[in-house]
């Protein structure tokens, strides 16, 4: 058999309240305190006594709740859809001029109005302030007169919203390991990954380091100090897995001491050296532009003194394609050569100034000489404009006396020289017959041993008259396709005779110069 002690109030021996039916106690709270069935406290205002926590502070009046001088009031509630309502009835006339509201602190810095409703005018019938208590009600709220200081005390609730002077709503769910509590700036706290707001860390907050060092991260993501480099060096990536290092400024392999723009690369990748607008030059040759319109500029190719320097033109990377065209200076020969068509040398300027075209052999050519191994076209490029040969040399004239055959019965001291210009042969014979040992033969006398066979069909056969042979003036004729000429006695075109071989005797001398065409 059980027994139940029913009391409305429990007080200590001094009459101080320990628990009251009206406060809800610390036990059951039922029935549900809806807005229409709120737990109602009667509020009156009277002079403070020493029982008041703020006796002697602020107003001399204080609130009395259900006749108790400014108690700490426990309020309960959690479900936001089912808040418990606590009504502070200020109908009593003593409340006139003392509206009861809720604040964050005793100084009433910030009012709390969530779930708080007021009605009527304090001191008049029907006047009250009611608060709906749920999980969003701060654990501490100060009930105070909005017009006077320190008249009330505070409530106490078990709530995730704590009042530390500001209202802070604790997170409603746990975060992940290592997360921190953060605020949305309106007092709502939540778990989040730790972060530092922009501009939140000042240099003063950083740990001291070594002079000149900077901070990087190692492969594990841990901060490491990058050692101080030398003056002028720049920070250079060492790639993944290693912190950067200080290295010489600029691109590896390029040394620069320039104090002004020396190389310009424009948006079309045209490169200018001492030229900032390479793309403005003719597109056929503006990939690399050197110099400007001010002063003299140039390009120098430097090599070892016994090697070659080249400017090459390629249309491929291997074989002759790598140097289809080439301008090359050979330092060991002090010669400049020009190469075309698979890099074949076609022109050269020798060290002595001789210019060789189509050959690499200078022979007797020297300073100022031009050696052309081919034709020179003058006044046009037709075959008729071509001068393709020039040659000076000697030949040995022979005595022709029988059917054009060379006589063999004489000694010959004669000399011949020639100049061949194109297809024309200018020949000179200084005839000096030695001794004719036997009869000079028959048919005719002539001079053979020509340096070139005649080709005089187009222009007719040249005649040379008044040749002073020992037997008197004669005509010397060079016939087509022969390499010798014949003497005729001169009368006219219809009267002629060959000169007998016997007309040229031992020790006879004469000179003859003639011109003929060869093939």
């Amino acid at each position: 058999m059980s027994s139940i002690l029913k009391v409305d109030t429990i007080q200590d021996q001094n009459g101080n309240l320990i628990i009251s039916k009206d406060s809800g106690g610390s036990g059951f709270l039922s029935p549900y305190a809806s807005s229409s069935a709120a737990i109602t406290y009667t509020v009156t205002v009277a002079s403070k006594t020493t029982a008041h926590p703020y006796y002697g502070v602020g107003s001399s009046n204080g609130y009395f709740i259900n006749g108790i001088e400014s108690p700490i009031i426990e309020i309960k509630g959690n479900d936001t859809s089912k808040p418990y309502h606590y009504k502070f009835d200020q109908s009593d006339s003593s409340n006139s001029g003392h509206p009861l509201l809720f604040y964050n602190n005793v100084g009433k810095t910030t009012g709390f109005s969530t779930g708080v409703t007021t009605n009527g005018t304090p001191g008049q019938a029907g006047a009250y302030t009611m608060i709906a208590v749920d999980s969003q009600t701060p654990n501490i709220l100060y009930y105070q007169c909005s017009s006077h200081a320190n008249m009330g005390n505070h409530t106490f609730a078990t709530s995730p919203v704590v009042n530390t002077g500001v209202f802070l709503t604790l997170p409603t769910a746990d975060g992940s390991s290592g997360q921190v509590v953060t605020t949305n700036g309106s007092g709502v706290l939540s778990f989040a990954n730790g972060s530092v707001p922009d501009d939140a860390i000042t240099l003063a907050k950083m740990a001291p380091g070594t002079d000149g060092n900077i901070i990087s991260y190692d492969a594990s993501g841990n901060p490491v100090a990058v050692a101080t480099g030398s003056a002028g060096q720049v920070l250079t990536s060492a790639g993944a897995g290693a912190p950067p290092t200080f290295a010489a400024a600029g691109v590896a392999g390029i040394s620069s001491s320039a104090n002004a723009t020396a190389i310009t690369i424009d948006s079309d990748e045209k490169v200018g050296i001492l030229n900032t607008t390479p793309g403005s030059f003719a597109s056929s040759g503006n990939d690399l532009v050197v110099g400007s319109t001010t002063g003299s500029h140039g390009i120098t190719i430097v090599t070892q003194d016994n090697d070659t320097g080249s400017l090459q033109f390629a249309d491929g990377t291997s074989g002759n394609a790598a140097y289809q065209g080439r301008i090359r200076y050979n330092h060991s020969e002090s010669a400049m050569s020009f190469h075309v068509n698979n890099g074949s040398e076609k022109m050269r300027i020798e060290s002595d100034g001789a210019v060789l075209v189509g050959t690499t052999t200078d022979g007797d050519a020297g300073a100022g000489d031009l050696v052309v191994n081919g034709g020179v076209f003058l006044g046009g490029s037709a075959a008729a404009n071509e001068l393709d040969d020039y040659e000076v040399g000697t030949f040995t004239p022979t005595f022709v006396n029988q059917s054009g055959g060379e006589a063999s019965n004489y000694t010959n001291n004669s000399t011949g020289s020639y100049i061949k210009i194109g297809k024309m042969v200018y020949a000179n014979v200084s005839w000096n017959m030695g001794t004719i040992s036997t009869g000079p033969g028959s048919l005719y006398a002539g001079i053979g041993g020509f340096p070139f066979v005649s080709d005089v069909s187009a222009g007719g056969c040249p005649w040379y008259t008044n040749i002073d042979v020992p037997d008197g003036p004669a005509t010397f004729q060079i016939s087509n396709n022969y390499n010798y000429g014949i003497f005729y006695s001169q009368r006219d075109n219809n009267n002629y005779n060959t000169i007998s071989p016997g007309a040229i005797a031992s020790n006879d001398n004469f000179q003859i110069t003639f011109v003929y065409k060869t093939d």
Binding site: G363, D364, G393, G404, Y444, C461, Q477, S479, N481, Y496
Partner: protein, 88 residues
């Protein structure tokens, strides 16, 4: 420093209908292998001439181009000229 002189067959040319051969003999003076001067001496050969004393290279060319057909043609040509006993 050594001076040397040598003769070279500098050029062999075959010209004309009757395959006449132009021969240039070069006399080259060299000092330690470097050419100092080059002089030319010429002679020409027709297909009916004796080449017994010619340079082997010249002989080779002559024999190559002086076919019997060429030689016959030259003979016909010369005969037509009556051995040049009259002017042409």
């Amino acid at each position: 420093m050594a001076l040397t002189k040598e003769t070279q067959i500098g050029k062999i040319e075959v010209v004309g209908k009757y395959k006449s051969v132009h021969v240039r003999t070069d006399t080259v003076v060299m000092e330690d292998g470097e050419e100092l001067s080059r002089k030319y001496h010429r002679h020409s050969l027709m297909a009916d001439q004796d080449i017994e004393n010619e340079h082997v290279d010249v002989k080779a060319v002559c024999n190559a181009v002086w076919t019997q057909e060429v030689k016959d043609a030259l003979k016909v040509f010369k005969d037509s000229k009556n051995n040049l006993s009259t002017p042409i």
